[in-house]
Assembly symmetry: C2
Homo-oligomer: 430 residues x 2
């Protein structure tokens, strides 16, 4: 690709950038939390149709994925779980194919009064677009779409097939991406513009979700003895889980990508609910835990150890002697994944192409990062032999209040994505 | 009163007892939790009207009570807070007057699957009637009504005015009873058949309710450092409150009625809620606390100390340094009350009359008990110079699962209530 062509592509991104920001604002305005993604998916499907892509919009069928590796148990019904994939078919063909993946689901906004402005009324200020999901990861979804638009504006189309995926459930199971695999979508590489500051993600952790359900015999507080309270019974269990977290983070357990991190694996008590009445000794308490594991760490062994830790701790709690805690695996059972361990030619070439594109836009080398979260990349990398490049814009306060994405960063990512596509797939004239 | 008359009254209770149990079952079937008392109050009002009492049914007006001693702050609107009082006016008169008080509100049932049978589908088994509120205290309300019925069946009416009160809010503020005072209801004594095993309550604790609201800046768990979690920030605050609980229970602080109890004052974390998403570090957590105080212990000083304990503990929690916890007084600000300290002639006579009635029915002396809860008795005793006798049937698992009241105990209480009324007020022929 000539420097002139690179400039033309980047110029095309600049030309359409106001429109791209408007599109991102419109997409961020959808309150597409889990179970509420349909309207946002309709919006994505319309945008894909308008651009002339073949659009596949389907409801996920649990029976088609529950037996597959990487499947995570589901707490909610899937009636509203709809994936959208737009496909560009190369005319002449001969180039490499690519999946451009992103997720439409966003995490809950939390108490809205803690936001400076309403989370689903996006606003631009000081070069950032604010709103729940703006960074994680609607900016990435939009970048995928507008990178392809930029090529088209230059009279170019990718020489390989492209699947633009807008999936659900990234934030709790990954079953949206898994359903795309089950439906047969494959390519020579995948790009996922998750918001990691324009770094290339070379490793990601696995994530396990579980709920601990405690229950017992309540009573009027007038008769409460010590140790009879379901809410307080949770405390020593949480302590024990933190001791497990410390063991798992020990230097001896770390993989190479995480050797320099003292505390890559974070245990999070993310939600708690218990009791019904201030003057009734609470008979029940449920708390939700997220725990991470290293790439290569056995999911089965991790689950078994969690179970043992809870059982052992519960045996010391008087309230729990009669009714042992129940563990419910209500989401992620996700293995870790390290692109850094993929020594295939395709991986090397894909990373090389992305590095060149990044340098072409930023003038700088591509920073590698091992992240302390998971992404849908694991499905491509672990279960479809497809190198998955996670590379997206800079965002702040994802999962927090005043989540925001830096617009100049989204602009750069869109440009380097366009250059990457042109390089990886090759181009043909429209 | 002749023994023959006593026997006739008791026989009248026995005769109507099946009907009384049916009435209790019907009343227990109402799901009269806070805010949902209206249908049950309609049922009570109809029963009072059917018996020919003057019925006063009114919505509590906060403006009429908020300035009164004993008022507790209210978390919910009062649109549904309706009191019912039925009044019997003595014909000839000359006897002492009496308030027969009970509360219609019940505490939440909790997870209904933890009940052996549905909490609002009352059932009788082995001499007990099961259902939420059956013991606390619909059996008492029903006993009041049927004790008067028994006198009537004997051709008798009390010689003094009787106010049969069915009040709301006993379980969270006591403002229902306070509103009766504000409306002008007064008598020479009050009887409240709360379920304390046919004992006479000689002292009750004060109760304080508060919520602790914690909030801060959440983030994706991938970036969670220690001390950033609102749910876990609650733990050291709860610990500090338990240390305060231990101090307050120290022998030096106990009043005479509680000198023998190591732990009369129970602190209860009755409810907790926090966080929105398993993989988001929780930004908020709210927990509800009930704490008791001794009769005579200053409510103001207790509130001040609670505030100080929370502030001091919060200053040690990194998460809370930026955003101090907020304390919300969302219910009971109730002083303790000790009938044992009432040396008035009226109190002595009322207790004597109840003791005689109890012995007449059971053949045994009246057991005195200092209870570790509060009741509406404090309003009569502290703010209306009226001795308040708390004396009701045996119940189990109040505020728990499978709450139940012993029917033979309710029968005895109804009989001794009828005998007490006849003695205290005197009787005249209908």
């Amino acid at each position: 690709m000539t420097d002139a062509m690179k400039s033309r592509i980047c110029y095309a991104v600049d030309t359409a950038f106001d429109q791209q920001v408007s599109f991102l604002a419109a997409l961020t305005a959808f309150r597409s939390t889990r179970g509420n993604e349909q309207a946002a998916q309709d919006f994505m499907a319309e945008a894909l149709v308008a651009r002339g892509y073949e659009v596949d919009r389907w409801q996920i069928d649990l029976d088609e994925i529950r037996h597959l590796p990487g499947f995570s148990p589901v707490a909610e019904p899937y009636d509203d779980a709809v994936n959208v994939v737009g496909t560009h078919r190369a005319k002449a063909g001969g180039g490499r194919s690519l999946i451009l993946n992103g997720h439409i689901d966003v995490v809950p906004a939390g108490p809205e009064e803690m936001w400076d402005s309403p989370p689903f009324e996006p606003r631009v200020a000081d070069g950032w677009l604010y709103g729940r999901g703006a960074g994680d990861m609607k900016a990435g979804l939009v970048s995928n779409l507008f990178a392809l638009d930029a090529l088209r504006a230059c009279g170019l189309a990718p020489c390989g097939d492209i699947h633009v995926q807008s999936v659900v459930e990234e934030e709790c199971t990954g079953n949206g991406a898994l359903a795309c695999l089950a439906r047969g979508y494959r390519a020579d590489a995948a790009l996922i513009p998750e918001p990691f500051s324009e770094h290339l993600v070379t490793a990601q952790l696995g994530v396990i979700w579980f709920q601990v359900h405690l229950k017992g015999l309540p009573t009027h507080v007038a008769y409460a003895g010590s140790g009879s309270n379901a809410i307080e019974a949770a405390i020593p269990l949480i302590d024990a889980l933190h001791r497990m977290e410390a063991r798992w983070n020990a230097a001896a357990n770390r993989t190479a990508d995480y050797a320099h991190m003292d505390h890559a694996l974070n245990l999070n008590v993310g939600r708690i609910a218990g009791g019904d009445w201030t003057s009734s000794v609470p008979a029940w308490c449920v708390f939700d835990v997220r725990m991470a594991i290293f790439p290569g760490q056995s999911l089965d062994a991790a689950q078994a150890e969690i179970g043992q830790v809870i059982r052992d701790a519960a045996s010391e709690v008087p309230f729990l002697r009669e009714a042992r805690p129940e563990i419910v695996w209500h989401g992620f059972l996700a293995e870790g994944y390290a692109l850094s361990q993929d020594s295939s030619a395709r991986a090397t070439e894909a990373i090389g192409a992305l590095e060149a594109a990044h340098r072409g836009v930023t003038g700088a080398g591509l920073t590698r990062e091992a992240i302390t979260a998971t992404t849908d990349a694991r499905f491509f990398g672990l279960y479809a032999d497809t190198p998955a490049l996670v590379y997206g814009p800079r965002a702040e306060a994802i999962h927090g209040f005043n989540e925001r994405v830096e617009l100049d960063s989204m602009r750069r990512i869109t440009k380097s994505t366009a250059l990457f596509i042109a390089d990886w797939c090759g181009t043909e004239e429209i």
